[in-house]
């Protein structure tokens, strides 16, 4: 089984939908341990990303998405998500996307985020949601799982990762200025990263229809 650029476009649209529905929530999380703009940043960047969608192939689609996010988001999340999509796009195959390709794309995206942001897991960032999600995808590939199972495992892992940020003390990003006071609050970037993986499930269900 494989997917194609249609799936990628649905994924981006679903990501935008999730972020837009939860804009106030993301902003609220970012107010507790940040400057209250993560919701707006993500909506603005992803709106532009959705507007950039056309019938291009996967690589170009993700490149356009990356450029839109980079030029419209701002803040920490712009370069990080922009890099994620840019690297995922560079790693994407020319034609159909096998599950193994998908995992490789997401791994490349995560690597890009870590290269740019220099965060490891446990620092209370989006990396804490991205890492378990990517690992879940890689696991699914090894077990020859279906797209459905793989994507929902990844989403569940991302959710757990997101929730795991709550007790952490931030050592990266704006939340790190708060020291101990950052503990007890869920990280906004990890939350939007969960939406990224949940959106893949949404897109897969759309594709299945």
């Amino acid at each position: 089984m494989s997917r194609d650029s249609t799936f990628v476009r649905s994924w981006i649209e679903a990501f935008f939908d999730r972020v837009e529905e939860n804009q106030k929530y993301l902003t609220k999380l970012d107010s507790a341990i940040g400057d209250g703009d993560h919701g707006q940043n993500m909506v603005r960047g992803l709106r532009a990303a959705v507007q950039s969608l056309n019938d291009s192939d996967t690589r170009e689609t993700l490149r356009n998405v990356a450029m839109s996010i980079i030029s419209k988001t701002g803040g920490a999340s712009g370069p990080l998500y922009g890099t994620l999509f840019m690297e995922a796009g560079k790693t994407a195959p020319d034609g159909p996307i096998a599950l193994s390709d998908w995992a490789a794309m997401m791994r490349a995206g995560l690597d890009g985020v870590q290269r740019r942001g220099k965060a490891e897991t446990g620092e209370k960032t989006m990396v804490d949601a991205l890492t378990p999600a990517v690992e879940a995808l890689e696991s699914a590939v090894e077990q020859d799982a279906s797209w459905s199972d793989a994507l929902s495992d990844a989403a569940a892992a991302a959710k757990d990762g997101m929730e795991s940020t709550t007790p952490m003390i931030a050592t990266k990003g704006r939340a790190s200025y708060l020291g101990d006071r950052s503990a007890g609050h869920q990280d906004p970037g990890a939350t939007s990263s969960f939406y990224l993986f949940a959106a893949a499930v949404d897109a897969n269900e759309t594709s299945a229809e």
Partner: protein
């Protein structure tokens, strides 16, 4: 949320339009990508000085564009780092054959967006150097944080660099100057109230009537500590203490003492705080050779203040005194 705005999503745009209409003699504002540039252009062979960051800190940075300070500024959305396309366009606009210096406040977003701009612009043939400003003592600079924030020292460094550029110095020299100034400046801030990001619609945090927040930044985020409100003199002590001991400043040092309003604190209170800060500096054996008092790097309508102190030498005093003609700072001719 009580603000004088129209659509919350258009605040930055409309404010820039008003700013452009008010200061055509000093600045031009470009949109898409958005940047502010001095209206008379950078003279040939002079280094271009550029900075940028989220909006909401006015007059910084747009208000410091003109002659003698910044040649261009890239404003992001409120409290949001600008994007690389802004810096690319602005860099080109202030490139006059001698290179461009990017002054970058140390926030993850600002640093990454400026870095991406430098990566993307590497082929343009413009020599770009970058200095990260991190003068805030409220945050430990360690592996446990994203590093110290760039706060009040930014204003001083922008002035020094603009004057150095006017003095005909090279990109190398001005970069070294900026790094040197950054290593000689320390700041700390506090807040009596938070502020409200227009598109968020409510304050970033809430303080009770008898509380204050110590060790704040400029983006409305909570600080290091929340505690009971104290007198102005006690507050100044809480800020000056870490500033004095962190560099550390030594008896006999010449200093520039900058008492900054976060936006909603009246000048009357800023001068009252300056009194104590200056007295503490003198008690420490420092010579306050220059000063700045007022709202220069703000956080929307936050009530509070920050103190910045830079160790000065005669050459820095000369750079400080050099003429500057910008909407936010003006002296000399």
């Amino acid at each position: 949320m009580k603000k004088l705005i129209n659509d919350p999503d258009h605040v930055v745009r409309e404010s820039l339009e008003g700013f452009a209409a008010a200061h055509p003699d000093l600045v031009s504002v470009h949109f898409n990508p958005t940047f502010v540039v001095r209206s008379d252009g950078v003279p040939d062979g002079r280094v271009g000085i550029l900075s940028g960051g989220g909006s909401g800190h006015e007059p910084m940075h747009n208000g410091f564009v003109g002659r003698g300070m910044l040649d261009a500024a890239c404003p992001g959305e409120v409290f949001t780092s600008p994007t690389p396309d802004q810096m690319l366009a602005a860099t080109e606009a202030v490139s006059a054959g001698a290179g461009v210096l990017h002054l970058v406040k140390n926030y993850t977003g600002d640093v990454m967006n400026f870095e991406m701009a430098e990566e993307m612009g590497a082929d343009e043939g413009i020599e770009v150097r970058s200095v990260v400003i991190d003068d805030d003592v409220a945050v430990e600079d360690s592996t446990y944080t994203a590093g110290r924030r760039g706060v009040g020292g930014t204003v001083l460094i922008e002035k020094m660099c603009g004057a150095a550029a006017d003095d005909g110095r090279s990109l190398e020299e001005i970069t070294d100057l900026a790094r040197r100034c950054n290593s000689e400046v320390r700041s700390m801030g506090m807040a009596l109230t938070s502020c409200t990001v227009p598109s968020a619609g409510e304050p970033t945090f809430q303080l009770a009537d008898d509380e204050m927040e110590i060790g704040i930044g400029i983006h409305g985020e909570p600080g290091r500590d929340r505690m009971s409100l104290e007198s102005a003199d006690a507050v100044v002590e809480r800020l000056m203490g870490p500033i004095l001991s962190d560099l550390p400043f030594h008896s006999g040092d010449d200093v520039l003492l900058f008492v900054n309003g976060m936006g909603a604190t009246p000048m009357m209170e800023l001068y009252l705080c300056y009194r104590k800060a200056a007295a503490m500096a003198e008690d420490h054996g420092l010579n306050v050779v220059r000063n700045l008092v007022g709202p220069y790097i703000t956080s929307l309508e936050m009530a509070g203040l920050s103190i910045t102190m830079m160790r000065m030498t005669d050459d820095l005093v000369a750079l400080w005194d050099a003429p500057v003609q910008t909407p936010g700072l003006r002296w000399g001719q």
